[in-house]
Subunit: 227 residues, 2 copies
DNA sequence: CCAAAAGTGTTGGTTCTACACCCATGG
DNA sequence: CCATGGGTGTAGAACCAACACTTTTGG
């Protein structure tokens, strides 16, 4: 089905690679954030990576890389960073591009891959070591500008799932009634006509992310986040 | 003193450039954000740029580029983006790296350069055209995580200047007493023993940015910024 | 009945912003 | 004097988080 050897988009040795591309794919397992690692038959685990001969189309390359390692397109894909300073890739690629992808909760890890909670990462190649933490920090930083919490869920989700997604990113528990009231006021979701019966209790209604125009909202001055 | 021809860090033609590097340098003129443009004797204006043979050390290269165009180190320097998709540099460099620098209000534009308000940019090369808007958006987005407003000021500044800096970034007027109360509560600045007499009225005390440890601050759920 | 989902009312706290006012100081 | 800087008190609005409660609906 897939080549387990982390199929580089460009093979080393043809022409000097201009950049290495590493991908952090994050997913929620319901309780924690997890990252996708490649677990080869022998040898150490790595994050998905590739070499680029030509940096042009590196976004497309990131997309391709994500597809190859997931079997599907990610729900979200964004550049995480560029590094030229740190340890470079063994191939000698002078630039290291990092991309961050999100997939919905429940996405299975393909053969040769595993979801590993981000707080329990195995030893990774030196270049990749700091990337997971950077990814988590970036997710937390951007979660109120970008619908991160929604991309960790399938297109249709229950409000309880959404709340858990937020709790996971914020790292603390939220109050159910308050969460829903605030969500209501923000016009971020719309109900579908589908319901999901979870076993016992009343079935949960499914919602989808459908932000509506928000009226003029002026941002307050926020000093507290600086330090 | 300086070479006006936008002294590329690596000259085209020696070996294929691996990346182009563009720099947006922003500064406040007290009323608006302005960006540094290179104004050649003949031809169109450009943003400072360079070609990199080797992406390694591109941060150092950005530093160097900023120094060359400013005559001094910027107060802040951060990567803004990587693009491989759009129009590429005429040299054929496959990757386009963009860095964003800030310098304090009052920094003079060297010979052959000019500060241009970001809302009135001249025609730039196609590749550079969207960069200024992206830079402004990035500044607004990150201003409450990173001390952007402070980097637009000299190390010592008056509270009125700081408030103007915030007003410029937020795009609206703030209330003086409230601004200062909030600033006080955030332990972000410390007074120096210097005062500056501005003409009439009581002299203003100078402050410096000196954030102190902020106690455990839990972030509220923010839905309002999504949409 | 019970469990879970969905939603209402309300309350207490904090934050944001504004208004009005104070004093200090240099020209 | 007056303009400006620095600061206090306070008030209203908005927001946040929690508690308690009701209603709905499947098992």
């Amino acid at each position: 089905m897939r080549d387990r050897s982390a199929a580089p988009v460009a093979r080393a040795g043809r022409s000097p690679a201009s950049a290495s591309l590493d991908l952090i794919v994050c997913c929620s397992d319901g309780r924690h954030l997890a990252a996708l690692v490649v677990v080869p038959l022998r040898g150490a685990a790595t994050l998905p990576w590739a070499l680029l001969e030509d940096g042009a189309g590196h976004e497309a390359a990131a997309q391709r890389l994500a597809r190859e390692h997931l079997g599907r397109a990610p729900a979200w894909l964004a550049p995480l960073g560029v590094a030229g300073e740190g340890r470079r890739h063994p191939s000698g690629a002078p630039l290291s591009l990092t991309w961050l992808a999100l997939v919905p909760q429940g996405t299975p890890a393909p053969e040769g891959h595993a979801w590993v909670p981000v707080h329990a990462m195995p030893a990774l190649p030196a270049r990749q070591q700091p990337m997971v933490a950077a990814a988590v920090a970036a997710l937390r930083d951007r979660m109120d500008l970008v619908p991160i919490a929604f991309r960790l869920l399938p297109p249709e989700f229950t409000l309880t799932e959404l709340q858990q997604s937020y709790e996971l990113l914020l790292g603390r528990r939220l109050h159910k009634a308050s969460f829903r009231r605030a969500l209501q006021a923000a016009y971020l979701v719309e109900p579908t006509d589908a319901w999901r019966s979870e076993g016992r209790g009343r079935p949960a209604q499914l919602f989808r992310y459908a932000p509506r125009r928000r009226r003029g909202h002026r941002r307050p001055v926020r000093f507290e986040l600086l330090g």
